[in-house]
Symmetry: D2
Subunit: 218 residues, 4 copies
């Protein structure tokens, strides 16, 4: 199963996807036992390890530009006895050239290159494959949604996840917030078959107006 | 894997745990292939079915007092080809008498009887077993936390989960809130071995004061 | 107007109500120019100062048990040229004895004595008066709601407020969470005239069951 | 004071800014008694009326393209005895031509024309003036932030506000979510004097990378 506790990972100074975000990201990716997965901006490898345990007959490519991260991924893979992770010390999109056809792409860090990464991922992703992306900035999220809207062979859903942990203080439990994350899940279809993706035109933008105004005051 | 899409379940008028809450609940329950699970207030059976798919050599007892719910659980089990669900048309805590020793209890609806249900669940739960509860009211959550604090063989964590879905409106994506849910996860230890559970006394309440004041203004 | 920026207050090590929570708390208190206000657990005095500026012909009693807080309140009152604050270095409920009849009570820190504080506030609060309370723990919130439910001359509303600040990182804006706070606003009526307060019995608890189950899965 | 209860407004079918969002929007606008204010996408006029009560010697221009909205604003102004609102039945940015120099602009509905509206508002806004905008879509928020970043005489802050109301169900209080809103507050300075606004270049985007990756996993 998924959801290794945060403190069980060897962490160093490399940041890590929090357990609840990790659980939702992996579940949305719908990974199968034979799947090939790429984890872009793999950090400590927490997503890679959860993915590798499910894709037991497949493989996870863990990409990170930071050598310290690569080292941690290797250590964590050993700690959790996971043998189907291939680490790639490099930066997306270039580093994706070393990757075969994939079923799933997990994108944690995009470094301001979300369009280029999505294009490179798309080139490797099989029909039926999934991309699951985590965002903490408005701009990266907006860029991603824009890319997906302009590719009519992708169907997506997007959520914002806000987790508050109740910290035990003896008799009391106090709510402590974790920074919210947006999770975007996109599925690849054959061209023009992602039926519910709406084509966009300037006319649409104006037409969206009444809806938006209605929304904002609702 | 977990996370069946909401609209794939046959629903009728019975309410259903939303996909993201379901994913987190099932992941926190840490279900094994041989586990015996009870789902209290099973509703449409969405949690039961996700649990039953994981506990493939075990069994899920799906309890609901509403005959319509029992009917839906049966239909959904058939739809998802799940054969290890036993439905119990009754009300917790009484209905728990029909259940064997369990590894996991999922508690969706408590109907104001959270203490009684926890006591009955405890009587059936193996050492090492997990209880995962979903709450939408302040009072049920507070009662549950109080029960857990007064049982020194349980260790718990609690989170609040707030999900906003981005609704696609052509060019725009608009945030739509889902009602927040608290998820409490408790693990059963041998007596006095849940080390981090703090014993409570009236003195503690007063002692908690500086912490609380610090917290509220932080 | 209300909403002094957080960094304008002299703070020391005393925690402070964040600007957005302060704005909502003061607005919900519906303070008038002639009002007498008590601020319990006044901390840096940020709420007291905002209240005192509105209650320009009235008075704000700022109660805190910490002498450092009293000192900060005095400094901040001077900084913001507010002259209608009376500081009381003591602990509620006892310290409330020094207070006259009041129109508004603001309760930031309750130190586990929420029932006693509400009872003491009630003794000083005029008919038509408002109590606005901030909570960060499940238990204090639950205690407060319980007290209000058992007093049929109070009508209340309660909200949870979660604020994320977007931190400017050059091209990007990243969401940073602030710990959520519950704000409870109660208005005092003549006995039995708070029409929408529902009387509670054990029967009610059972009757609430279908609603709750419906809620949790909705 | 601010924070008229939602149900006190005459509403019709026109959507309305919820009380808590209204309180924060008005407080962030820091309106003075002599201020000239424009409310773009005024809807029922709820923001206009709160603003007009504070700007008692100034004036509020309430712009809406929907004649039904204009009618409701007029009715609500009468109900709340507010006489300093001038309604303009038209669409921003064009409708802004009828407006004098302003101290404050409130922007509720932008209808996909956020850039054009900000440019037109800027032309009317005095040095020291404030723009407070409410957003419910990722794209409008991102466009607004982009406009502000590229104008070095504006300094801004942005927050996301999520309110859950506790609905009273007899013994229980159940959390009900309201759709989240982003509130952006921008203040106008003389050219090049909004010190903390960072100039942006493509190089910056790449440089932002480590921060972003750090953020997302933090």
């Amino acid at each position: 199963m998924i959801g290794i506790e945060d403190e069980k990972f060897i962490r160093g100074n490399v940041p890590m996807t929090k357990q609840e975000i990790r659980i939702l990201t992996i579940a949305k990716a719908d990974i199968g036992a034979e799947d090939y997965v790429v984890d872009i901006g793999a950090g400590t490898g927490s997503l890679s390890i959860e993915a590798a345990k499910i894709a037991e007959n497949g493989c996870v490519y863990a990409i990170d530009k930071d050598p310290e991260a690569i080292d941690l991924i290797t250590q964590n893979a050993e700690k959790f006895s996971v043998e189907n992770i291939v680490t790639i010390n490099g930066e997306a999109p270039e580093a994706l050239e070393q990757v075969k056809k994939i079923d799933v792409a997990l994108v944690g860090g995009s470094g301001g290159l979300i369009d280029e990464i999505l294009t490179a991922v798309d080139a490797k992703l099989k029909i039926g494959g999934r991309i699951v992306l985590n965002f903490i900035t408005v701009q990266s999220l907006a860029s991603c949604l824009n890319w997906l809207k302009s590719h009519n062979n992708y169907k997506y859903e997007a959520i914002q996840v806000q987790i508050n942990r109740l910290q035990n203080l003896g008799f009391y439990d106090m709510a402590r917030a974790i920074n919210p994350v947006h999770i975007v899940t996109a599925k690849k279809f054959r061209h023009n078959q992602a039926a519910n993706v709406i084509s966009i035109s300037d006319a649409k933008i104006r037409n969206a107006q009444p809806v938006q105004i209605k929304g904002i005051r609702d």
